[in-house]
């Protein structure tokens, strides 16, 4: 394994690990707050029990997210000093703002988790709201940095040195809006529907337990609208990629030749040597229609990109297909569940819906990971699109396979422990019979 590959693998593992906890850290506080507000309004202690239990799980997940995020802030330099030296002054500001957002999040999470009996109920809810808001802001600030790597602005390069630096213009880069929207919705959709899935499964086995029914409703309230909106934000993001990163876009869609009236390629295996995609279903003209709102429009293919600047086409295309397919499933199931709720029908009496929701439990997280694979692998060989190659940013330290192996083992181990703890928490659910039915 080359040092460059080891560094990329370590960064990939660290991000893939952290993103799960970051996403949960953004969305779980909202679930807790919704449950707590319902308790305050209705006096129904099941909601209080829910908020307390979710807070317990969130404490563990947030802690792992906080420390793995710290690792990332160092790894930016440990693995990619060339990137940070160039990018720091241009795009470091959102990282600094993220520092403060994370501060507020950590402070009020402490207040929330340990303050149940110490502060008045309204102050407690307010602390939860602050955690939820600052958590979302943290995510947005970090994704702005990533958006800048995809659509770099706010500086000029003179003899490979930066000049005319404008950090505000860098923050307002073209990909910032679509990427932050897509990621924030992903956090609520993935977490909300994962929680909904767990409780839907429990409800199927234990249909009289009001605890699971109420948990399911709160989780759907957060997750389902986000999942339904997500395809729209995905459309926005994809068209942004088409504008600024044609190579990534062509790899996502497995489009080797520049084509007028390009078809949408579903599934299939892109054969890079033969420059064609096998076993795929093609919908004529659909890609041009979706991308340009013009069925006859021209889409740039990989033939316009020098082969040394191609990303890994099969990995990017397949990850993109996985993300879209799972996201589509989540949107449909969410629409179904909301339709049932809107007609005031009982969720507990709908075994097929409950199974469909249970199946969805891991899907949001898999889709999120797949989406990050698309955006990160799709940008290669660049770390800053068109400006700095990943190979030129890596640290000169030899033997990078050692930290890669070390951190991977550590993260696998921590992941297993977290799962064991969560299983314990979920198993110890109370039985609260639903008297209202």
């Amino acid at each position: 394994m080359s040092d460059l590959l080891a560094a990329r693998a370590q960064m990939g593992v660290s991000l893939a690990f952290h993103i799960v906890f970051a996403v949960i850290g953004i969305a779980m506080p909202l679930l807790m707050v919704v449950a707590e507000v319902r308790w305050l309004k209705s006096g129904d202690t099941v909601y209080l029990e829910l908020a307390r239990r979710w807070a317990k799980g969130t404490a563990v997940l947030f802690a792992v997210g906080a420390v793995s995020g710290t690792v990332l802030s160092f790894e930016l330099g440990l693995l990619w000093p060339g990137f940070m030296e160039l990018a720091g002054p241009i795009i470091g500001i959102p990282f600094s703002l993220e520092g403060f957002a994370f501060f507020i999040e950590a402070i009020f999470l402490g207040v929330y988790l340990y303050g149940w009996t110490r502060i008045p109920a309204r102050a407690h809810v307010a602390a939860g709201v602050l955690v939820a808001v600052s958590g979302a802001l943290s995510g947005i600030f970090v994704v702005i940095v990533n958006a800048w790597m995809n659509a770099p602005t706010g500086f000029t390069l003179v003899d490979s040195r930066i000049a005319a630096v404008d950090p505000l213009a860098a923050m307002a880069n073209g990909a910032a809006f679509s990427q932050t929207l897509h990621m924030t919705l992903a956090a609520y959709a993935a977490t909300g529907l994962a929680v909904a899935g767990i409780h839907a499964w429990s409800l199927r086995r234990d249909p009289m337990n009001a605890f699971h029914l109420k948990a399911l409703k709160v989780a759907l309230l957060v997750g389902a609208p986000a999942a339904i909106l997500q395809p729209l934000s995905g459309d926005l993001a994809a068209r942004q990629v088409a504008r600024t990163q044609p190579a990534k876009f062509a790899a996502m869609e497995a489009l080797f030749e520049t084509t007028r009236g390009a078809p949408l390629t579903l599934g299939g295996w892109p054969d890079v040597d033969a420059r064609e995609t096998r076993f795929a279903v093609e919908i004529p003209r659909a890609l041009s229609l979706l991308t340009l709102r013009d069925a006859g429009g021209e889409i740039v293919g990989l033939d316009q990109v020098p082969p040394e600047n191609w990303p890994d086409v099969p990995a990017v295309h397949l990850s993109f297909q996985v993300m879209v397919a799972l996201g589509g499933y989540l949107a449909l199931v969410s629409a179904w569940a909301l339709a049932v709720l809107a007609r005031r029908r009982e969720l507990a009496g709908r075994p097929r819906l409950l199974v469909a929701l249970a199946v969805a439990t891991p899907m949001g997280f898999i889709a999120t990971e797949a989406g990050w694979i698309v955006t990160e692998l799709g940008r290669q060989p660049w770390v800053i699109q068109g400006v700095l190659r990943t190979a030129d940013a890596v640290t000169p330290m030899p033997g990078l396979v050692v930290p890669f192996a070390g951190f991977t083992l550590l993260y696998v181990f921590l992941g297993v422990v977290v799962l064991v703890i969560l299983r314990r928490l979920v198993r110890h659910t109370p039985v609260i019979l639903d008297e209202g039915r």
């Binding site: 690792v71 160092f74 940070m84 403060f100 501060f103 110490r118 640290t395």
Partner: protein, 340 residues
Amino acid sequence: MSAAGAIAGILVLALNAYVLLGGADFGGGVWDLLARGPRAARQRDLVAHAIGPVWEANHVWLILAIVILFTCFPAAFARISITLHVPLALMLVGIVVRGSAFTFRSSGAGDARFERRWGRAFAGASLLTPLLLGITLAAIASGRLTVAGNGEGGRGKGFAEGYVLPWLTPFGLAVGLLTLACFAYLAAVYLVLEADDPDLREDFRHGAMRSGMVVLAAAVLALGLAGTGAPRLVDGLVRSSWAIPYVAITAATAAAAMVALWRRRYGLARIAAVVEVSLLVWGWALAQYPYLVPPELTVAGVAAPAITLRLVLIGLGGGAVVLVPSLYYLFRVFKMPGTG
């Protein structure tokens, strides 16, 4: 003062806050490890109780210091990251294990074996991280992180010569020990005030005095080794007019803290200990100034463009407006006497 100088000052302030707050949380881990005698379980409980609500917030100071460093002094961040990859990576392992183990332990749902095992991981990681933090700061002060030494210009050099020997020095180990001792000392001084049981309070009073002595011994050792460990730094200090009074004031504060502990004036002891450790941090920073990474990278020399510095200052000001009342609220809720 220039914008770069002001931001460098804020960077040291953030590190200082990390040492005083995050450091004490690591120190809590040391006392968890050293808990002995009939009150061992209650000592551990007090540590966990004291750290619980605040450790995550305390930890963010380090992140703030890092983002300021890479935004405003990118070349220094790159140099430190390349040359000190090994101790920084090990420090990160410590940070990850410490934070995870602490919350895993408290979520054990009464499983004693599970809790004991993670308690040990928490305590062990609490030793490792401060040691490596001290080693890292000592290596920066040592003046060995040069282009010729390794990194950019030293691609041909061996791994040990380029990436281990610059930081694995007697001076580095002494500063690592000093850092660990300071953290344990701060934790004990704070815990004396948080204990509401007289016996428990005496336990931590003794711990504070013992670790205070270790701080003094480690400080003397580090100063003694600095002549060979960080020669340029010492040269600068010897020539400066402020070094001797500064050391004298630090020593007087240390003595005051000890006397206050001896006479059970705990509030006073806490103030003196905080000032003492802060003086150590600022002594390091002032001795290095104007160098960020001596002997090649100065604060002004590696500063980001003026617009970035100005925006960071605005951001830090705005952030402080939100942060200070929030921190005040956190500590008022959990750390005021009579709220335990």
